[in-house]
Symmetry: C2
């Protein structure tokens, strides 16, 4: 049997035909075209999947299920997506729409959840049954595996780890609250703090590295300067890692995973990030005499979304 995995983002719809072992046989992508509304987008998703199956030399009869990773969540009881900001979706009957084009079972879950499943199937978390994948990007997303299975909760709202409040009264968040973890642990947070610092210290190496234009500051610029030994950026990075570890403490206290896999843009800092987290986390964990989660870098890269989505129905 084969599976179709679809990874929907604001810019592109990626899809792949995936085998039982989580290997991509064939993949392709089309533009999301979100201005067209959900109908044409979902039709494109289905058609892309069908076309890839045919091009890979298979038939739809061989497809066990289709999985879709979305930058949001579906209500598992209604089969509808209540809202999905990045796709401009509101109350979208995704399962009904897909049923217009395909007759195989369709599974929908959060894209970070799909990526977490991909790490469990073929990546860094494949040796354990309990893991949390964390994407450190524009926001912070989570994919939780408990007892070898995707955990999305009975209402599908679990694993919204980025909107866990760690600094009550802190930085305002797009969700309307203050102090959500993603305001401190995302790439966006590192950029914000870099810009604040550079604007307050116009002569600093960080400002020079972006030719005096703080808008050009990215997480990579800050991290690269920290790596190179710039004390200001090292301090910004250290503070970032601290807040990352506050959230990891909470994740350990609640999920107690065996592996925490770091993915997303900030994880491209690689061993530099890993070393910093591993140095700080022991002081943060509650039970210091007990074994706890091992922090690792995610391994599946850009294909994680397709593979994980495909595996939702395995």
């Amino acid at each position: 049997m084969i599976y179709i995995g679809i990874d929907v983002g604001g810019t592109t719809i990626k899809a792949g035909v995936v085998d039982e072992n989580g290997r991509i046989l064939l993949k392709d992508s089309v533009a999301t075209g979100m201005e067209r509304g959900y109908g044409p987008m979902i039709r494109d998703m289905a058609e892309l999947g069908i076309r890839l199956v045919e091009q890979s030399g298979h038939t739809m009869d061989e497809v066990k299920s289709i999985g879709i990773g979305i930058p949001g969540i579906m209500n598992p009881k209604t089969g509808r997506v209540p809202f999905c900001t990045n796709l401009a979706w509101h109350d979208v009957p995704i399962l009904d729409e897909m049923a217009k084009y395909v007759s195989v079972p369709v599974y929908v879950d959060n894209d970070a959840t799909a990526a977490g499943l991909a790490e469990h199937v073929g990546g860094v978390s494949s040796t354990v049954e309990n893991s949390v994948f964390i994407t450190l990007g524009t926001g912070v997303g989570g994919g939780v595996m408990l007892n070898g299975k995707v955990f999305s909760g009975p209402h599908g709202v679990a694993s919204e780890i980025g909107h866990m409040i760690t600094v009550d009264g802190g930085e305002p968040c797009s969700c309307g609250k203050r102090g959500c973890w993603e305001r401190y642990a995302s790439a966006t947070a590192l950029i914000r703090e870099g810009r604040r610092f550079a604007e307050a210290h116009p002569d600093c190496p960080l400002m020079k590295a972006v030719d005096g234009d703080p808008e050009k500051i990215t997480a990579k610029v800050v991290i690269d300067l920290a790596k190179a030994g710039d004390p200001d950026c090292a301090k910004l990075f250290d503070n970032y890692v601290y807040h990352l570890c506050v959230g990891l403490r909470n994740i350990i206290n609640l999920y107690d995973p065996e592996i925490i896999a770091l993915g997303g843009g900030v994880s491209h800092a690689g061993q530099f990030l890993l070393d910093a987290v591993r140095a700080k986390l022991p002081d943060m964990v509650f039970f210091k005499d007990m074994p706890y989660a091992q922090v690792e870098l995610a391994q599946m890269g850009n294909d994680a979304g397709i593979i994980g989505a495909a595996m939702l129905g395995r």
Copy 2:
């Protein structure tokens, strides 16, 4: 088959013989006597269980398992309790010690976890498979049920929800960190804030209610005055409920339970607490268009510890 449930606290060891349906057939207690060290304490636990089985007209052959709820955790891989402050235990081989006296399987878990299981078996969470029991007492403990089973995590450190950081940099906690949820959501927090307020406002009704002695302020005194309409105590209580709801938001974002059951000292405020939490929580939750956990009062009361411990091996 019958079960022995043992609930160990700093003052008393409570035990009961419990049937397959979670009903106590016979129970009794002895003093903990923690100054004697773990050996005599664990012997007393075993002997109390054995005696109760005999007195209830059964034999040890009919006992399927013994469950023990402790104010701490056991490392499931070693069968040892790394530390347990309230019992002055450090690295206690509880399973080996129990094996000196009984030959039935022994299960050990956190006392709040046991109470959560009791709510699942016979209390307010019995209709659902996913629930979180929260004890609002001296500290804040948690008992998590996922997919109908106790969730303690692979290392046994899950459900330490009281030491989730919600106010980074906030009130110092006994664990060495600042801003743990229990510093804001426990009865202790309400007492602390009540005392601070009373000391700063010596003429306030709260100070009068304790005859000018802030040491006499309890959570109940503050709550009773809030109930009676005292605006200062109403504000203290409102702030308490706010912080309680910050943690509930995080619990919903991570565990997505169907029911959250509030127990422990503060829960004796009853409907007054429940109404306040239910009024504030909708504004706190992340997915406002999705169903989420229903908040209820725990129902099992003082016997929850015995019943839940007994059911650990069911």
